[in-house]
Subunit: 241 residues, 2 copies
Amino acid sequence: MTIADRTPPDLARARPRARGDKTPLRLDAIVDEALRIIDTEGTDAVSMRKVAAAFDTGPASLYAHVDNKDDLLRLALRKVLDTMPLPAGETWQAMFRAHAHTIRAVLAAHNDLARLTFGTVPESDQVTEGSERLLAAMIGGGVPPQVAAWSLDVISLYIAADVHEGWLMGRIFDDGSGRPPEEVGMEYFRGFGERMASLPKDRFPTLTGHLEELMGGDGDQRFSFGIDMFIAGMAAQIPPT
Amino acid sequence: MTIADRTPPDLARARPRARGDKTPLRLDAIVDEALRIIDTEGTDAVSMRKVAAAFDTGPASLYAHVDNKDDLLRLALRKVLDTMPLPAGETWQAMFRAHAHTIRAVLAAHNDLARLTFGTVPESDQVTEGSERLLAAMIGGGVPPQVAAWSLDVISLYIAADVHEGWLMGRIFDDGSGRPPEEVGMEYFRGFGERMASLPKDRFPTLTGHLEELMGGDGDQRFSFGIDMFIAGMAAQIPPT
DNA sequence: ACCTGAACACCGTTCAAGT
DNA sequence: ACCTGAACACCGTTCAAGT
């Protein structure tokens, strides 16, 4: 007979969770649990009750550590932003392009976490450091400082919107029908294409005449396109030497 | 004694609402009520219960007319999009720029309605007509068809993100404290500026060296900047004649 | 077909009471 | 300071029952 076998029932009941010993209620663990729910179910699935349940307690217990649900989500976002790689590249264009794709990939790895970036100024030191390097590269490359400064805003907004839209699209395809998402997605796009193709050719000559261009390209290609247009636009602002 | 005076209590109780005669439960009226709530309180304030209450009934009654809450919000969005003015302008650049500002203004006039455009293909005939004209102008102006086609996507996303962000920012300033939003907004920006200014100059020479450019410009200027960079980027794709 | 009341399974936050 | 159970004022949607 081992020690474990002799554990009294009360003590055994005190640690019933899969996560092993009852995790103490610390801010860090609370934020991690919120992030775990975001990663598995999305931001809308985070509830104070669900987070609290992971610690075998009620929602009221969380309010000793966070102001409210918004505060908790903000902390979860910051934690992810703090893992953001720093921008790197030979030219400001290469750096800008690569970093845009990096930010997109990091955000997209956490379901609809990108939604939380709207209407907030990122508080992450890592993001600040990234902004410093990007701005220095652009200004060093001849981009007018005002163009470089505002470009940080624009690009953040565009990336967040793209990731959010991509996630919502994925959600549509993953309807509750149990059918594979790719199949639903294909059907969705076929339906959209058919609606475009069925437009009267006389009233919509341009739309019906360019179905391939309108329908073509996946999310990655369209995102790249947007970034590249923006970079080209900034490059056009560099005064001739 | 008039007829009205003789109205029995039961009948009087049947029409107690400020909206006069009890509005019959028609889809159109339901969508209008949802839109009224969106315009006064925002999309999050729309609830099936609140909409139903305007018709002196319970939420279950709505389900004879709409599939669910998402469906109702989608219908409200379409109703607004159907009021969108058509693009016009001398050149494709002027048309593109003006229409971007128009879309922004229409969406911004309905609080955070713009949020609903994420992850959806607009079903509005008015939007389809606008796309036809924009696309024709761009291609007619020499913009490669693939660039023109994808630009519709990118610009929709950017406008929606900008309006959504702007609304969220406005929300932050309009905290429950009762203080005037402009004052809260000024303080918020001053705080942000001070945080930027207090960054160590040796580690963040570029950020601290360009505070004016980073902090300057209101929402309109920053939006215009993004649109203009994108237009310049597209213009750079026009092959030399 | 349209409408309804009641119920189900949830929410975020507050509060008095404990330690 | 931290934690808790109970309560408050909400949600979206379903369902059996009505017309």
